[in-house]
Symmetry: C2
Subunit: 161 residues, 2 copies
């Protein structure tokens, strides 16, 4: 039922479907960006998206990439992130709420979900008189020396910068 995440070799990409649902004109450029995004498991910045897109079809400009990610963000399809480094990075919005752990030595970004954390931050906000609308949690850590190897820490989506 669920597309197995990588089953979009040539059909309509998941992001393209979302664009259509939201009534966006699907131009070649947007379709290309949608595909690149759907196939990206990491958090590329605009420059990187542009590089990946151009590699497939160079009839696209970086201005269009900027315009498109901004549009997709407004439509709730993408989320803008900032892991430091001056450039905005993008993340698909509907993959469920997750957090990020950044390896300070390698820059690798590991996604994780944690219900305890979900609950706690909601409680904290409530205690301050607020209802939580959103949150941004980034942990910066260093690999513990004697840990065998993280690879895929726990079946959670993993990812490299």
């Amino acid at each position: 039922m669920h597309t197995p995440a990588t089953a979009e070799h040539e059909g309509i990409s998941r992001i393209e479907r979302l664009c259509i649902e939201r009534g966006l004109k699907m131009t070649g450029q947007r379709r290309l960006i949608a595909r690149v995004l759907s196939e990206s498991a990491d958090h590329p910045d605009v420059e990187e998206l542009y590089r990946r897109a151009v590699a497939r079809d160079d009839r696209i400009s970086i201005a269009t990439v900027y315009r498109t990610v901004r549009l997709l963000e407004e439509k709730g399809i993408l989320e803008r992130r900032d892991f430091g480094g001056g450039r905005a990075r993008y993340d698909q919005a509907d993959r469920g709420h997750h957090y990020h752990l950044i390896d300070v030595d390698t820059g690798r970004v590991i996604e994780f979900a944690d219900p305890r954390l979900d609950t706690l931050v909601r409680e904290i906000a409530a205690g301050l008189g607020f209802t939580l609308e959103d949150n941004r949690i980034e942990l910066f850590g260093r690999r513990v020396a004697d840990t065998p190897d993280p690879a895929v820490p726990r079946g959670k989506p993993r990812d490299a910068e």
Copy 2:
């Protein structure tokens, strides 16, 4: 024994003391920036710091403000923050680890500390095979309608954008 936070009308500001301890040359410009920072309970961006500084003595340029906050960050006296909006904002580094709750309606930033959160994120990082070096946690929320008024939620330092 602790300076009552606002007792720096004309003595040496807390930040200036830290600069001297770290062996920085105390020029008029740095002293001015140090004072403005010590008296700021909020998280100003560079433009705002520059405005506040110029108001007292216009023999300072914005380039110096940029250079100084960068220096103070390197010396561990300030911490650079990013609450979105494209500009870096600064926070005194030694006020203890705290987190931020941003009111999405007003932009107001509320600081809070929470030991449960400290512990939980450290545990999560450990579970992923990392030791926590740092973290960035920002909650975005909306005032609960029937709450009387937050003013100062809990004796924690409060602040407005």
